[in-house]
Structure formats: structure tokens, C-alpha cells
């Protein structure tokens, strides 16, 4: 533990010390510790590159349970969360999100051979099958909004895969990259993943993107970070060079025009537009109400 939340001068301090402490959730391939005990992963790679550009050479990691990431950030246990956290309105109220770093699609991890023939949330609706979701992940909220009955909550992606592998759950919903990587890394686990999908609620694509999170008062750090981030995200080649080794492609590169602000405000229409390019259109007029609640149990 270090001193409390700070007065927003974290950037200065980190630059002085040359070190910044970030929390990660231990999720392959975003941010995790490899077998050599080194901190690595796609979001880590991006952050390290950015921090280096800001004169902070040393990135220290702290593994934290998903639920505790933002509470720990706000009480000053670490300076940033590098876990590819989805940018959601509720979260934006409590913490400051950088501009989108990577785009999310979801997938279902199912038993080998996909015995129930599942493809997305819609295929589960009404079947009574058990769906595992990770505590605090956006799929948890989506499953809830869709009214899926039999959900169980797991603490980590590993737990979710275990749940599917040993039959405690019929499917496990999480981001595509995470689960695909895990399925590849564990060929003997007896699991596979479905094709990626973007959940649709009330006809609106639940577009989501993840980024690094800072304390609200650390505006200087956030701005400096965003500036460097734009240089990577804006450059397809550089983006793929940085995160390619973790299985990410140009498909995960945030489209130009998509901002954290849109996602923070839950403005899915704007997001849909940005994602589909200038000409893209959506059919719903007032979707904000329903999307606000994507990630929470309340209304």
C-alpha cells in the first residue's frame, strides 16, 4: 500500500520515480503473469509502450480480483488498471477511462463439439441451460438484461473454463479473445469457442471497447496517456505490432471516431455509427434507457 488517492499529481510522481503501479486481473491475453513470472499481455504491452513514451520505464503489476479493481484504484493501492476493462457508464461515474484501446466481441465457451448447438445469448434463451459469467464482466450484465435464468457467477476466466470442462456449466460467456486464447492454450480441456458475436439488446449492438482506467482526479495522467494512445491506435501497423503476439488483429483496433465519452454516456447510437463508419445507421431512437443498465443489477 502507498499513500492515499493522491491529488492528481500521479503523473509527476511516476515520472520522477520512473515507476508506475498498475493492477491487472490475470486474464490471458490482456494482462497476466507468464510462466517466467513476467507481467505481459496486450493491454500491458500498449500501456508499457505509452508509459515508456511518458518517461516511465518501470511498470509494476498487482494481481487483483476483478470485483476489487476499481475500489482498489480509488483508494490508491495502484495508479491504473490495465485489464482491458470495458468502458461503461456506471464505471465512468467512478473512474476515468482512457480512450478505447481494444474492441470487444463476445463468445461462448462450450463443451467440445458444441453439443447444445449454441451460438450467442439468443440461442440460450428459454433452454434452461446453465450459463457461466464472470463476476463483474459485461456479459454478466447482458445476461441479466436478457433475463437468462440459469446463470452462475465465476471469479475468473480459468474458473469459467473449469466450470464448462467439468459440466458445472453448459456455456461460459466472455470476451472472444480471452476465451479463444484459452481454448487454444488448453487443447486437452475438452472445450471450444463459438464464433464471436456482439450481443444485441433491443435491436442495438452492444458495442463495447476496453481501455486503461485511472483515478478521476488524475486528469494530467489521463490526457498524457490519451495523447500517446492515439498514436498507436491511429496506426494499424503499430497497433498490430504491439498486440499481435497476443492474438489481436486489426479487427480489435478501435475505429476512428469512437470515443470513451460515447461509451461513457451510453450513447450506443453514436457508437454504432462510429463503428459502422460514416454511413452506418441504426434503427432505434431512444435506446439510452436500456443500455444504461448494461452492467448493473439495478435499473
Amino acid at each position: 500500500g502507498d499513500d492515499g488517492g493522491g491529488e492528481g499529481n500521479t503523473l509527476e510522481r511516476a515520472q520522477e520515480e520512473g515507476t508506475i503501479k498498475i493492477a491487472y486481473a490475470g486474464e490471458i491475453p490482456y494482462s497476466f503473469e507468464n510462466d517466467e513470472g513476467e507481467l505481459t499481455g496486450a493491454t500491458i504491452a500498449i500501456d508499457e509502450e505509452i508509459f515508456k513514451a511518458l518517461g516511465i520505464d518501470n511498470v509494476e503489476g498487482q494481481l487483483v480480483e476483478w470485483d476489487a479493481l476499481i475500489p482498489g484504484l480509488n483508494k490508491g493501492e495502484y495508479d491504473a488498471v490495465s485489464a482491458g476493462m470495458s468502458i461503461l457508464p456506471d464505471r465512468c461515474a467512478k473512474a476515468a477511462f482512457a480512450e478505447p484501446t481494444i474492441m470487444y466481441t463476445s463468445t461462448l465457451m462450450v463443451a467440445e463439439g458444441n453439443p447444445e448447438g449454441l451460438s450467442d445469448f439468443a440461442s440460450i434463451e428459454g433452454t434452461g441451460l446453465t450459463l457461466a459469467v464472470q463476476s463483474g464482466a459485461i456479459e454478466q450484465g447482458q445476461a441479466q438484461d436478457l433475463g437468462l435464468e440459469n446463470t452462475m457467477t465465476v471469479n475468473s476466466a480459468q474458473d469459467g473454463m473449469d466450470a464448462v470442462a467439468n459440466g458445472r456449466a453448459d456455456a461460459f460467456a466472455l470476451t472472444n479473445i480471452t476465451l479463444s486464447t484459452m481454448a487454444e492454450d488448453n487443447p486437452d480441456a475438452g472445450v471450444e469457442t463459438t464464433d464471436a458475436f456482439v450481443a444485441e439488446i433491443d435491436g442495438l449492438k452492444q458495442i463495447s471497447a476496453g481501455s486503461t482506467v485511472f483515478r478521476p482526479e488524475d486528469t494530467a495522467l489521463l490526457e498524457a496517456y490519451n495523447e500517446e494512445l492515439a498514436k498507436i491506435v491511429g496506426d494499424e501497423q503499430r497497433f498490430v505490432e504491439t498486440v499481435g503476439e497476443f492474438g489481436f488483429t486489426d479487427a480489435e483496433r478501435p475505429p476512428e471516431g469512437l470515443t470513451a465519452e460515447m461509451l461513457c454516456e451510453g450513447d450506443l447510437e453514436a457508437a454504432n455509427e462510429a463503428a459502422d463508419g460514416a454511413g452506418g445507421s441504426t434503427d432505434s431512437e431512444d435506446s439510452t434507457g436500456s443500455t444504461d443498465s448494461t452492467d448493473s443489477t439495478d435499473g
Binding site: 480480483e65 480509488n74 461515474a93 463483474g136 457467477t153 473449469d162 452492467d295
Partner: protein, 212 residues
């Protein structure tokens, strides 16, 4: 800092977890511990040394090592068991090792005169246990068993390690969703106090009543 809204939102949620999970785990875990504890206590006394020694070691080993590790090991080793089942079994077995100690103390607290009187009357061993020793020992032991049950109740949050949705696991989840633990953990703490203090007072009453 403090949001009444969140507080009132957390109350019913955690109360539900409390009744549906925490209490269920405590009750079933206690049943397991009460029965297994007596089995350990008598077995260690009556088995031939060659069997009693390893059993005693096992019981001691379990008692002296942490519950969270036991939970994790059993949870991952037996995939077919649900987290709830694992939680109940492990916490029950863990506390049975404490209750075994209580039974043992209860049996030892019976004055040697009782054993000697039974010998002087030529009562056979089985009858001595059943009619003389156990009725007195269990009476002596009951308060202690009750207190271990309360201790177990307060240890149910350890099940957070295998995500059994008991009260504190739910409180953390709730906190994670609202990015603050203040209200939820307060509710959890208060519910614990509300439940355990009166029970402890009751146990003390029972203890006084049971004293010969």
C-alpha cells in the same frame, strides 16, 4: 462516501444470501462436524495405536492448516461437486477436528472415579461408554459444540475463495458492481453481529443451565 440508497439496496440482497447460503452452510456444516467430531474422538481413543496414530495426525493436520487452502484443493480436485457442496463438506470436516477436541476434553473431564466405579461394578466397556461416560461427556461438551458452530458461522465468508455466493461474496460482488464496498460490507458486518451476538448469549445461558 456513504450512500443510503446503496445501503438499502444491499440489505435485502445480502439478507437473501444470508438465509439461503450462509445459514444453510452453517446448519449442514454443523451437522457434519458434530457427527464426525464424535467419530474422531472415540476412534482415536478406541482404535489400536497403529490406526489411531495416523488418524490423529490427519485430524491434527487438518486442524492446523488453513481453511481457504482446503476449500481450494477440494474444489479443484473434485470437479463434479458444486462449490456449495464443497463449501459445506470442507467447512464441516474442518470444524469436526475442533469438535473432536471438545469431545475429547468432555470425555477427559469425567472424573476417573466414574470409570473406576464402572469397573468396580464390572460394567462392560460398551455399557460404560453408553450409560455413564457419553451422557456426561456430551452434556459437558454441548456448550463448546455450540460455540464452535458460531465460530463456523463466522468463518463462512472464507467460502469467498471458491465463490460460494454467501453473504460476503455477494457483498463484494455488489461492491464491485457499484465500485464501493462501504455500504455492502457495513450491511454484512451488521448482519453478522445481529445474528451471532444473541446466539452467543443463548449459548452462555445454555451452558449455565447444563452445569451440574
Amino acid at each position: 462516501m456513504w450512500e443510503n440508497e446503496l445501503f438499502f439496496e444491499a440489505v435485502p440482497l445480502l439478507l437473501e444470501a444470508f438465509i439461503k447460503v450462509t445459514l444453510v452452510v452453517t446448519v449442514l456444516g454443523t451437522l457434519i462436524a458434530v457427527v464426525l467430531g464424535l467419530v474422531w474422538a472415540i476412534a482415536v481413543r478406541e482404535l489400536p495405536p497403529l490406526l489411531a496414530a495416523p488418524l490423529r495426525f490427519l485430524v491434527d493436520f487438518i486442524r492446523m492448516t488453513p481453511l481457504p487452502v482446503h476449500l481450494l484443493v477440494i474444489y479443484y480436485a473434485f470437479n463434479s461437486l458444486s462449490a456449495m457442496t464443497v463449501g459445506i463438506l470442507v467447512i464441516g470436516v474442518h470444524y469436526s477436528t475442533y469438535m473432536a477436541e471438545s469431545y475429547r476434553a468432555g470425555i477427559e473431564s469425567i472424573r476417573s472415579g466414574q470409570w473406576e466405579a464402572a469397573t468396580a461394578l464390572s460394567l462392560p466397556a460398551s455399557r460404560t461408554w453408553r450409560a455413564v461416560i457419553l451422557p456426561q461427556a456430551i452434556r459437558n461438551t454441548l456448550p463448546s459444540l455450540g460455540n464452535w458452530a458460531i465460530a463456523m458461522f463466522k468463518d463462512t465468508p472464507f467460502l469467498i475463495f471458491i465463490s460460494v455466493p454467501e453473504m460476503v461474496t455477494r457483498a463484494r460482488e455488489f461492491g464491485g458492481q457499484h465500485f464501493t464496498y462501504v455500504e455492502a460490507m457495513t450491511v454484512a458486518g451488521v448482519l453478522f453481529l445481529l445474528a451471532s451476538y444473541p446466539t452467543a448469549v443463548l449459548m452462555r445461558k445454555l451452558e449455565k443451565k447444563l452445569a451440574y
